[in-house]
């Protein structure tokens, strides 16, 4: 395993294995997208978070090898990439399940039952926050506010929001994910409360 550690520069014995870390996996696979991202910013480093997203989309997490590659792409040192990655909670430093369930546990959702919801998931999947199921399908995390306070309890699974979750709805979501990999119960463009026909008529 290559280490993104500043000391590796002074310690030849810890120097990175070129064959392992000198790869251009990301560049080869997403060259066009990377060029497009770089064109948006006058300073290359700004593309760091967008490129990390590209890497995470590809692998499900951000590996050290890919951090090395991004550092080279942007003219940064590996520690500069590493310090940024570790600041942001959305980057996974190790593999997570195919479906990453993130339940909001902040006060506003807790008022309307997010703790109960975490309990349901615990029972149904047998995992506590921070754990993954043995089949590698689900990882559960309890996270802070996801900006859906009016429609709690809510959770995010991979890129999608699921709001006003009830036990029955949760069952259907999990069954959908298992069978088709997605669920029609995910949120669309957000509007809440949905206006009543009378309210719509008044604004028309």
């Amino acid at each position: 395993m290559c280490s993104v550690n500043a000391r590796s520069v002074e310690r030849p014995d810890r120097r990175l294995d070129k064959g392992m870390c000198g790869g251009t996996v990301l560049k080869d696979k997403y060259g066009k997208e990377i060029d497009e991202i770089l064109s948006r910013y006058p300073v290359k480093r700004s593309a760091l978070i967008p490129l990390l997203y590209v890497a995470q989309r590809d692998q499900g997490y951000v590996s050290e090898a890919v951090m090395q590659e991004i550092a080279r792409l942007l003219g940064l040192t590996p520690p500069q990439v590493y310090e940024t990655v570790t600041f942001y909670t959305m980057f996974n430093l190790k593999p997570v399940g195919k479906f990453h369930i993130q339940v909001c546990k902040s006060l506003m959702c807790a008022l309307v039952g997010s703790d109960t919801m975490i309990g349901w998931i615990k029972t149904k999947l047998g995992i506590a926050p921070g754990e993954s199921t043995t089949d590698g399908l689900f990882t559960l995390s309890a996270v802070e506010c996801l900006a859906a306070c009016g429609t709690g309890p809510m959770m995010q699974i991979n890129e999608d929001y699921y709001e006003q979750v009830t036990e029955d709805k949760l069952n259907r979501i999990l069954a959908d994910l298992r069978s088709t990999g997605t669920s029609a119960l995910k949120s669309g463009p957000f509007m809440w409360p949905e206006p009543t026909p009378a309210e719509r008529a008044r604004e028309a």
Binding site: I49, M108, P129, C145, T151, F190, P193, A204
Partner: protein, 439 residues
């Protein structure tokens, strides 16, 4: 329900409104850009916005026109506009609706702001979790670019403005404007020491304006209908226009309600949000997101505008109104918010980084009925040593839940401690107790 005119949420209330460019243009969209670009001097746009009395909707409530006026007039290099869409304040979910349902309204506001401050590049810094929102915005930008509203030589006026969506990656602090700029530069989101202010040394050290989504969405309407029209709405002279309040918690109809500033908390909670969800009476209100001190039922008739909420001892903040019913433990509520702040403290300033951890541990101890009476003094002492002693306003925000619950519901803390004493549950802290980590 609404007896007043909707401004920002009007379009999306129309049946079948999809938020596409076609739909937006049908409702008079991009008229402000057409009528302003090359026809009204940028300085006059700033003057109009200043006259309208529009204040920032992100939390601090700084007058938008005045903020723009701080940019150096004779600076020749690039300037930047950043749209702050990092909506992360617990209790707030209005920007999400504005972006996902009517993205062009936000884009038109961004273009007008770019024109006023002379910026040719704008970045929308959207919180990373809102993947759907970022896709909708990107699609809207592509539509607008194809129609000639975004890009080089907009509508043949010789004015350039490009807009990019930049996703954050899950850090609350990046809603603070200088932390947002650091994050946009690809660094850890640590707030900068001010001065210098972003107006002179912002993104890439260039003059920069950071405005909230809702603030920007108001601009097309101000330019179309005039600053006097806007200044007459709400609670003039200091709190003009409408506000999209996000009601959450124990109410019948939680959600986003756009109302003129200056309506009372009672009207918002009982008329718009349908009142309490059960027969339990109201116990506590947070009027402006997690950073705002709690208010009590005695404050129900406080007007929701910047001044009146401040006089009542809280702040209007980001407009997230959270309602709690009788039976909710205020110690528990304070702890939940404190856990949020502990998790989100960026770690730059010691008082906030260490203090938030101490506050969480002390609150946990009290709630677990292992508290001591002197814990209350410790809490207040810690709060006093955090607020005002940090680089950004996060320090002031994180002590708000504790200070206000201790002020209004001190007895709840005392009762828990008495229970602990009565049950003789107080044991010395284990020696070398491991610093607790929270998932």
């Amino acid at each position: 329900m609404p007896k007043h005119e909707l401004i920002l949420l009007k379009n999306m209330m129309q049946p079948g409104y999809t938020g596409s460019l076609q739909d937006y243009e049908k409702t008079g969209g991009y008229q402000a850009v057409r009528n302003t670009f090359g026809k009204v001097a940028p300085a006059d746009v700033t003057t109009m916005v200043r006259k309208s009395g529009l204040r920032g909707r992100g939390g601090a409530g700084f007058p938008t026109g005045v903020k723009w006026g701080f940019l150096p007039k004779d600076y020749q290099g690039p300037r930047y506009l950043c749209c702050n869409a990092d909506e992360s304040e617990p209790g707030t979910f209005k920007d999400r609706q504005l972006m996902e349902r009517d993205p062009h309204q936000v884009l038109e506001g961004i273009l007008l702001a770019c024109y006023a401050i002379g910026a040719e590049t704008a970045y929308i810094y959207i919180r990373g979790e809102m993947v759907l929102g970022s896709r909708i915005l990107e699609q809207a930008i592509n539509e607008a670019r194809a129609a000639g509203y975004i890009g080089k030589n907009i509508l043949g006026t010789g004015i350039h403005a490009d807009v990019w969506v930049h996703r954050g990656a899950g850090a609350y602090i990046c809603g603070e404007e200088t932390a947002l700029l650091e994050s946009l530069e690809g660094k850890r989101g640590l707030p900068r020491i001010k001065p210098p202010f972003p107006a002179t040394h912002g993104l890439y050290n260039k003059p920069t304006v950071v405005n909230n989504v809702e603030t920007l969405a108001n601009l097309p309407h101000i330019l179309n209908r005039g600053p006097e029209w806007f200044a007459a709405i709400g609670s003039p002279p200091k709190s003009t226009g409408t506000r999209v309040f996000c009601v959450s918690g124990h109410v019948k109809r939680p959600g986003n309600y756009e109302v003129p500033m200056g309506i009372t908390i009672r009207e918002l909670v009982y008329e718009h949000a349908g009142g309490m969800r059960s027969d339990k009476p109201l116990k506590a209100i947070i009027p402006g997101g997690a950073s705002a001190p709690f208010l009590t039922p005695a404050h129900l008739d406080v007007k929701l505008d910047f001044e009146h909420v401040a006089t009542a001892g809280s702040m209007l903040g980001s407009g997230g109104v959270t309602v709690m019913e009788e039976g909710t433990s205020m110690v528990w509520a304070a702890l939940r918010l404190m856990e949020f702040f502990y998790h989100e403290s960026c770690g730059k300033c010691s008082p906030c980084r260490e203090g938030s951890s101490w506050l969480v541990q002390t609150l946990r101890r009290i709630l677990a009925k292992r508290g001591r009476m002197q814990d209350l003094e410790t809490l207040l002492d810690l709060c006093k040593n955090i607020a005002g002693r940090t680089v950004c306003a996060f320090g002031d925000a994180e002590v708000a839940p504790i200070q206000s619950t201790l002020k209004h519901w001190r007895q709840e803390y005392v009762d828990l401690i008495h229970e602990a004493e009565a049950a003789n549950l107080i044991r010395p802290e284990p020696v070398g107790a491991k610093h607790e980590r929270f998932s």
